[in-house]
Subunit: 132 residues, 2 copies
């Protein structure tokens, strides 16, 4: 598939698809005329990339993470240098922190919304402390 279709199917501007390629996150083949040629698997890959970017990971790190997601992954073992493994460990750690932080705050927001909604429902002027 060409860049336009991939862009549409992933909701990603073409500009960014080219950017991700420049950052070596995706490596489409080229048709005879020079057009980029993406195979089906790139749809998920791009969605993955966007999710990680949105979650605060830089392309540099995403590039290291992506190979871990390939299944079957048998082929990729030789690439695993000790430094890369260390990077991954570190990144795993940071991801856990992020998850913890997001979860904590999500729960807080959820609780807040719950209380506020209930408050609105039972009377706009009442400010029940919710009994602590």
């Amino acid at each position: 598939m060409r860049i336009g279709e991939l862009a549409e199917r992933t909701g990603t501007p073409r500009r960014l698809l080219r950017y991700y390629e420049e950052q070596e996150l995706i490596m489409p083949t080229r048709c005879a005329n020079g057009y980029r040629d993406y195979d089906e698997r790139f749809v998920d890959r791009v969605v993955q990339i966007r999710g990680l970017l949105d979650a605060g990971l830089p392309t540099r790190i995403i590039k290291q993470i992506l190979p871990c997601l390939d299944k079957p992954r048998v082929i990729h073992f030789k690439d695993a240098t000790p430094e890369m493994l260390a990077t991954l460990e570190g990144e795993l750690d940071r991801m856990n922190h992020r998850i913890a932080c997001l979860t904590r705050n999500r729960d807080a927001i959820e609780e807040y919304l719950g209380v506020v909604r209930q408050d609105k429902a039972s009377g706009p002027s009442a400010q029940s402390p919710g009994g602590r």
Copy 2:
């Protein structure tokens, strides 16, 4: 406490503490001489802010989230305009997506590291598919 101490206790450059203030995420009082004066609660707050920034939220959103975290929160109810609630709902959603994405990828990395480590241990040249 002054900015230097807060910087040290939160591991945050002074520059950024001033930046967060400019973005109205934190509003320290001022001493007579113009120095910023942070009270104890700012330590947690700054850590919170940094966590959220690291997780990909922009200051604009963090600013809206922070009031939800204050406990007791009784005072803050009147601020809750319908638009703000809608924003929070939306942000809650995005946070859930982020959490899901991070969790998925974290698990994949974890599994990858597990397999690779086992592989290293049992013999560097073996490439067991891991049995599905």
